[in-house]
């Protein structure tokens, strides 16, 4: 059900395809449809956000291991507002309003940090609805690579000249 790496090498498109599979003929799937166990290692790069009436109090009801900021390793739930600025979760949160307003998946890429390390990555936010009308949850995922690598290799090239 969840696309394999062989079927789709791009993380955000694997997640997008999974969302479409879960959705079927509906506008969007429910949060209960999401099976993190079926997602393998990709689940470590995902977060489930529960939308409340107060947009400032979005609850992170499941946080993938690879997206947890420093000091959150033992935390299973938290508030989006409590995430340190610039961290992956906070960067994902920047696009939450757009997902809620457009009621559609939103993907964006760019620089952010993961536990303080600068990375270059891409995220996707997928709306979920338990009642078929209101967006009650958002499944988000982000994968990344070390942004320092490119700079370091460029630096080495410059030194070698």
């Amino acid at each position: 059900m969840y696309p394999s790496l062989a079927q789709e090498r791009r993380f955000v498109l694997r997640l997008y395809e999974y969302w479409m599979t879960l959705r079927g003929d509906r506008e969007m799937p429910t949060h209960r449809d999401v099976d993190f166990a079926a997602m393998g290692e990709d689940a470590d790069y995902c977060v489930m956000m529960t939308i409340t009436d107060d947009i400032g109090k979005v609850v992170l009801s499941a946080i993938g291991r690879e997206l947890k900021p420093d000091g959150w390793q033992g935390v299973s739930r938290g508030l989006l507002a409590d995430c340190p600025a610039g961290e992956a979760l906070a960067t994902i949160g920047l696009h939450l309003n757009q997902t809620l307003q457009r009621r559609a998946p939103v993907s964006h890429g760019g620089h952010f940090t993961v536990r303080g390390a600068a990375v270059l990555g891409r995220a996707i936010l997928l709306p979920l609805s338990d009642d078929g009308v209101t967006v009650t949850h958002v499944l988000a995922g982000a994968n990344y690579k070390d942004a320092v690598d490119d700079g370091a290799s460029a630096g080495k090239m410059a030194v070698g000249r």
């Binding site: 498109l13 997008y16 479409m20 009621r103 559609a104 998946p105 939103v106 993907s107």
Partner: protein
């Protein structure tokens, strides 16, 4: 700049995803296309010109879905009109040769009348001189 994947559902286009990367957007559109039961899928590039406060949209991808099967009275700002098929391109055609018609003979009558009138005038002039 954003790329929107849209699919034609019933009477309107539904946004199936918003991406900031063209390659990802087109790849996503192809995934939607595989599930959309032959519904047309398009990717719209939207560029916001802050200086002119103007949002410009253009279609950068369009699936082979059958638009005619989903006819709608909506005025859609997208996608741009597809390039006409070669067979539909206007080609000037040679007119069939005009048959000798009454119009040809009709054109002669004024000249004939002028000739006869001139001849009659000359005859009158010769008689009186």
């Amino acid at each position: 700049m954003a790329y929107e994947v849209r699919v034609l559902r019933g009477a309107g286009w539904r946004v199936e995803g918003i991406f900031d990367d063209e390659t990802i957007a087109v790849a996503a559109a192809k995934k939607v296309e595989g599930r959309a039961d032959r519904s047309p899928v398009v990717v719209i590039q939207e560029v916001y010109d802050a200086a002119r406060n103007h949002l410009k949209s253009r279609s950068i991808y369009r699936s082979g879905g059958d638009l005619s099967a989903h006819s709608t009275s909506m005025v859609l700002p997208f996608p741009k009109a597809a390039a006409p098929r070669p067979s539909a391109i206007y080609k000037p055609t040679r007119r069939p040769p005009r048959a000798a018609s009454s119009k040809t003979s009709a054109e002669i009558w004024p000249w004939l009348a002028l000739l006869i009138g001139g001849f009659v005038m000359i005859v009158f002039l010769l008689m009186y001189i």
